[in-house]
């Protein structure tokens, strides 16, 4: 939330009949500046979009603040709450994860776990390549999923990278040393695949039973056996 607010600055200036807007935002490592002029007759002129590319994320916020200060020196002021609310466009909601993916995900998780245990227990180096292949397949499957949470997407990309590194190492005849890493990676990926399912259900069950409710129950009177 804080990050989102930080990543967008909107300023406004009114000179007689025209209103100037200046908007600065960042996407990834690119900083965008847009200025829009709105005239009294309703006509708008969009100025050029200025982009600045940064090699790293460092210094972007500072640069944005600096630009905003420069603009404020020219008479711009930040938007008020009401103005901000008026211009907000509803973001299209990201589609949720497809529950049909869960069954194949759990099947893949079993495969990964089994392979991981075999890698720990058996000394065959051929298994490394099986783990590599299965890992690639899992990465491909998760890559195609719409609405995968960001954390999981990052994890599976990381797994892909780690598999690549391990494969390169085994090209330098380090297969034996690399084997436990392959094994741990497959077990971890199996756990992550199941956690994907768990997280979906946890989120789904979070909101139930929160609202006001009235329940009615007939009181059944049991006969008294003492009499």
């Amino acid at each position: 939330m804080k990050d989102k607010q930080e990543s967008l600055i909107q300023l406004k200036r009114e000179i007689s009949q025209t209103v100037d807007y200046w908007v600065c935002y960042r996407v990834g490592r690119t900083l965008y500046q847009v200025s829009v002029q709105e005239q009294a007759n309703g006509q708008t002129n969009e100025g050029e979009v200025t982009t600045e590319r940064f090699p790293f994320y460092f210094g972007m916020k500072q640069r944005m603040r600096q630009l905003a200060e420069e603009k404020e020196a020219l008479g711009f002021r930040p938007l008020t709450e009401a103005e901000q609310a008026a211009h907000v466009i509803d973001e299209p909601e990201e589609p949720p994860l497809d529950p049909g993916f869960f069954e194949p995900a759990i099947r893949l998780a079993w495969l990964l776990l089994g392979l991981g245990i075999l890698l720990f227990v058996l000394p065959y180096e051929r298994l490394n390549n099986f783990a590599f292949g299965l890992g690639l397949y899992v990465w491909y499957e998760t890559f195609g999923q719409v609405g995968l949470p960001k954390f999981f997407r990052r994890y599976f990309h990381g797994m892909f990278g780690a598999l690549m590194v391990l494969q390169v190492l085994s090209a330098f005849e380090l297969e034996r040393e690399v084997q436990p890493y392959y094994a741990s990676l497959s077990v971890l990926s199996a756990v992550m695949l199941v956690l994907l399912v768990v997280q979906y259900h946890l989120k789904e069950t979070d909101q139930i039973g929160q609202d006001k409710r009235v329940s009615r129950r007939k009181i059944t009177e049991y006969p008294d056996f003492d009499e």
Binding site: I106, A109, W110, L113, G116, I117, F120, V121, P180, A183, S184, V187, A190, V191, V194, L195, V197, V198, H201, L202, E204, T205, D206, I208, G209, Q210, D211, K212, R213, V214, S215, R216, R217, K218, I219
Partner: protein, 208 residues
């Protein structure tokens, strides 16, 4: 989940506090008796407010806040009640138990991983004790799933017990680690199953 009750004439007031980490859930309600329409039966009506969710600064602050509220309510004449009036809060408590089971499964898998990699070999009797608390051998029913849980649990106990002595022998280490990993994974799958059941479990008013 803590529940406090106070009875005034025919009405029973209840307050339920439930803590999840640093979040407190509070729910209040009244239960009263009324004669039903068109018959001589009595009907119990349980009215509850919406649950209020209060995030506090940390877990300890939440715990202290809960205790404070409980103290205030006790001074007003409420008493602690062992039986539960609020199904909505029961639902949350179930969900919390499932979360704890999930954590235990992850811990078990971590045990297995550390044993198999040899970073920290863990003797079999530790997961044996640990498993006997968490493994779902108590579930009823004759479904394939229930049977599988019971039988695999029994086998795992034997393997863990067998690999406890001389646990640093390579064979025992790998047997122990394998069992930990598989048992942890089955526990994980069991939690997903339980969560799914919780999703489909409807909180419906009692009929008749």
């Amino acid at each position: 989940m803590v529940q406090l009750l106070k009875q005034i004439d025919d009405e029973v007031y209840h307050v339920v506090y439930h803590q999840e980490g640093r979040t407190l859930f509070v729910r209040e309600g009244v239960a009263r008796k009324e004669p039903a329409l068109n018959s001589e039966d009595m009907i119990e009506i349980n009215e509850e407010t919406a649950t209020v969710r209060i995030p506090l600064k940390n877990t300890f602050a939440a715990y202290r806040q809960k205790k404070e509220w409980m103290r205030q309510k006790m001074e007003e004449g409420y008493l602690k009640a062992p039986f539960s009036q609020s199904e909505a809060m029961n639902y949350r408590a179930d969900r919390r138990n499932i979360k704890l089971r999930l954590l235990s499964a992850l811990l078990l898998m971590l045990c297995g991983l550390s044993t198999l990699t040899g970073l920290l070999p863990i003797p079999g009797y530790i997961p044996l004790v640990f498993l006997s608390f968490f493994y779902p051998i108590y579930i009823e029913g004759k479904t394939a799933r229930a049977r599988f849980y019971r039988w695999s649990g029994g086998v795992f106990f034997f393997v863990l017990a067998g690999s406890s002595k001389d646990y640093l022998e390579p064979f025992n280490l790998s047997a122990n680690g394998t069992v930990c990993l598989i048992a942890g994974f089955i526990l994980l799958l069991y939690t997903t199953q339980q969560l799914k059941e919780l999703t489909t479990k409807e909180i419906t008013p009692h009929e008749g």
